[in-house]
Amino acid sequence: MLFLAQRISALIMAPLALVHLVLIVYAVQGGLDAQEILSRTRGSIAWATLYGLFVIAVSVHAAIGLRAVGQEWLKLQGTLLNVLTWGSGLGLPLLGFRAVYAVVAG
């Protein structure tokens, strides 16, 4: 069922990534500074939801994608392959939620 998780996470991410892309181009004008970013994100439930969902979807998507790369290009199997899959699948949301918490609540 990994294929289904890969497609569903992609469908969830597509609009989120579009928003992110527009935001990147918009926000970079005039340079980035912490205050500018945080004034936008602090206390915003909308940003928290958007990026929280993004973190979940990207973690699933990246873990399954890296698993395929590990199998096909690095010829990994067994424990090593599972370490790659679960390492990315659990590591990314850990760091990701910390980042979302930091810019929204911190």
């Binding site: 497609r7 992609a10 469908l11 990534a17 890296l66 930091a102 810019v103």
Partner: protein
């Protein structure tokens, strides 16, 4: 390294999708870590953000935006290929996805410098 039977544009599109995906996956932990600095170390975050003003870093960011756009639009082509009725214009769609991605990444670069 690319074998003769792989020398066609849609195989190249698949390679671009994979390479951009790997690039994004490797970048994400770093991206998350830096944002996490906002939690209790806004000063370090600002030092880092000033460091990214360096022209070479802007070029690296251009690469990341390009990867994100390529993976997004290339991925949308694949989702359409898999979930919508077959459309024979796959090469055209792949070329459009690439062109749109380069356009957005260049737009980013022009806004950034």
């Amino acid at each position: 390294m690319i074998k003769p039977h792989q020398k066609h544009s849609l195989w190249l599109a698949a390679l671009v999708h994979r390479v951009s995906g790997i690039g994004l996956a490797l970048f994400l932990p770093f991206h998350f870590y830096v944002l996490g600095l906002a939690l209790n170390d806004t000063a370090t975050l600002d030092t880092f953000l000033r460091w990214t003003e360096h022209p070479m870093l802007k070029v690296a960011e251009f690469g990341l935006v390009l990867f994100l756009a390529l993976h997004l639009f290339g991925g949308l082509r694949l989702l359409a290929l898999e979930f919508l009725p077959w459309n024979p214009a796959q090469k055209t769609f792949a070329a459009l996805a690439a062109a749109l991605s380069v356009f957005i990444a260049l737009l980013f670069l022009l806004k950034a410098i």
